[in-house]
Amino acid sequence: MKTNVAVIVLGVLLGATFGLGVYTFVYARGHSYLSNDPRSCTNCHVMQEYYAAWLKSSHRSVANCNDCHTPHRLIGNYATKATNGFFHSLAFATGNFPDVIQIETRNRNVTEGACRTCHREITLAIVQPHGTGDVSCVRCHFNVGHLAASYVVSNR
């Protein structure tokens, strides 16, 4: 009898936790992060200016956020979403990030990889004669996806 009460109490507690979790997930539009819609990235307003700049960029009709910022293979795609999702949430919740956000090495490599997937024919021809050294696409083509500054300039 005692145990039954305990199990019911436990059930209620776990149910509450689960319910709260589901509510939080829905309230935070968690499902949108499983999609491919660029607007999901602007759920958090830090990304708004990058989204706005992308809308004005040369790549807007051929590539969205995921095309350049997540690997094109299934596992890599969700692993990157999960890792970035966790660290971005952590940064945003704690407020511990610079105002002008900076891409880090792992994510830069993902983007470099994306350039070289779609533009394979051109990049192979460039990279091969130079070896695999530190040739970088985005070092020169930094504004093809979105340039925060171009957003700032055009909106003032």
Binding site: M1, K2, T3, N4, A6, V9, L10, L13, L14, A16, T17, L20, G21, Y23, T24, Y27, A28, C44, H45, V46, F92, A93, P98, D99, V100, Q102, F142, A148, A149, V152, V153, R156
Partner: protein
């Protein structure tokens, strides 16, 4: 079911309850955090007080704009960069100067400045710069006030002047400006209460940027006229992005006091470059003072950041003062401009990295390299100027008549104005790096030419040159 479950089951139960409780706390915390972030993005503005053109106190404006106001207050912070800013130095208050904190003397650091300004008040007291919060105090208590009777004009750029101008002019900014110009400083000072405040840059009704300094309106009219645009009105015709520099350009400029009315005027009728400004001063035959050691009629440059920035790559690219000195920052879901006006070097992420995609250290190193190159060249130019001054002094001592000294003195006037302009300019050459270094090279050349004219006139030198 066993009415007495084993102890291990009971522990498992407790553990599960504890974990579930922790998870609930964490999820609830996250929910509230997300809720907070979504709320931050809303309610940008609460109107608490009705503002108008008679309210000068920034604390009252700050009730409507608390975030901007708090940042504005932070201009009291004193911090150095490699070449700019200052550290707070203790000062024992005296009757004439109650300040407890001052900045280091630039004259002690570089005595060549004393010789350059010989016979002028700046050779008595010239200190490192600090934030907007101190502009009025530092002007009130500088030693320069004791050496020379300063004019009320000086307040134009060291105090919030909209209310005093309007009061004195019965609502007319220009009239008030003219009245204050020829008042003695000590008398005019009583009319001013605050350092530059919200009202000096913003319209109280719309918060749009606006021009409140008559001298700037006149200066820009003359400048645009020289470029072929007649009747330009900066207060109605400037674009929003231009205004983000023009509000600063009302004060961070070169100026002089025109005529017996001591009207504050900006010497821009021929252009903003050094050669244009010197040509203008020569044409109107203006001098700030007569050099005590050489007798040359010389000029003092003030703080020509606006003119210098105009010669640089940032101006050319459409980057205004506020873009680097008041970059956007995020307060929750809002973006506001940073009203803590300061060196971009203290704020590299927001000031530089919006456009320049390099690590902070790399950007800082680049700036300091530019500044060090200018600093070294400026030092050569100051040495050259000292040599010219010494030679003119010697020629005077040898009783060379004034007419033989005239050309050398004219070169001194030009050389020292070029040097002074960029020594007083507050970026150590960064606002326009190549222009600044080129100007120092020209100054060195003026000194050399000045020395050459003496060489052919002083008899003993002629002899040594012939040998």
């Amino acid at each position: 079911m066993d009415p007495n479950p084993p102890a291990s089951n009971r522990w498992l139960l407790f553990l599960t309850v504890a974990l579930a409780a922790l998870a609930t706390v964490a999820i609830a915390g996250l929910l509230i955090n997300i809720f907070g972030h979504t709320q931050e993005a809303k309610n940008a503005f609460f109107k608490v007080v009705e503002l108008n053109d008679n309210i000068e106190d920034p604390a009252i404006w700050g009730k409507n704009f608390p975030m901007q106001y708090e940042l504005y207050l932070r201009t009291v912070d004193q911090k150095r960069t490699c070449y700019g800013g200052s550290e707070a130095l203790p000062h024992s208050p005296t009757k004439g100067d109650p300040r407890e904190i001052v900045t280091a003397s630039k004259l002690e650091k570089d005595p060549r400045l004393i010789e350059m300004w010989a016979g002028y008040a700046f050779s008595k007291d010239y200190r490192e710069k600090r934030g907007h919060a101190y502009m009025l105090t530092d002007q009130t208590f500088t030693e320069r006030q004791k050496v020379v009777r300063q004019a009320g004009t000086c307040l134009n750029c060291h105090a919030s002047m909209v209310v005093p101008y309007r009061k004195l002019g019965n609502g007319d900014l220009f009239k008030g400006f003219e009245t204050i110009n020829y008042m003695p400083y000590s008398e005019a000072r009583k009319l001013a209460t605050h350092p530059v405040a919200c009202i000096d840059c913003h319209d109280p009704g719309t918060m749009e940027l606006r021009i409140t300094r008559p001298a700037f309106i006149e200066g820009m009219r003359a400048l645009k006229a020289s470029q072929g645009m007649a009747n330009y009105r900066v207060d109605t015709m400037a674009t929003r992005q231009e205004m983000r520099s023009f509000v600063c350009g009302q004060c961070h400029v070169e100026y002089y006091f025109k005529g017996p009315e001591k009207e504050l005027a900006y010497p821009w009728a021929k252009g903003l470059k050094l050669e244009n400004i010197v040509a203008y001063y020569d044409e109107v035959k203006f001098k700030d003072w007569t050099h005590a050691e050489t007798g040359a009629e010389v000029l003092k440059a003030q703080h020509p950041e606006f003119e210098t920035w105009n010669q640089g790559i940032h101006a050319r690219s459409g980057v205004g003062c506020a873009d680097c000195h008041m970059p956007y920052l995020r307060e929750g879901g809002l973006k506001i401009s940073d009203h803590w006006v300061r060196s971009p070097l203290l704020n590299i992420n927001r000031a530089c990295q919006t456009c320049h995609r390099w690590p902070e250290q790399e950007l800082k190193d680049r700036v300091e390299e530019i500044q060090t190159r200018f600093f070294d060249t400026r030092n050569l130019a100051l040495d050259a100027l000292m040599d010219l001054i010494h030679d003119i002094k010697a020629a005077r001592a040898a009783n060379l008549p004034d007419r033989d000294l005239a050309t050398a003195r004219a070169f001194q006037r030009k050389a020292q104005y070029y040097i002074d302009f960029l020594v007083s300019e507050n970026s150590m050459g960064f606002h326009a790096d190549q222009y600044s270094v080129k100007s120092m090279a020209e100054a060195i050349n003026f000194c050399r030419q000045g020395q050459l004219t003496l060489r052919t006139r002083v008899p003993s030198r002629q002899a040594s040159a012939a040998q």
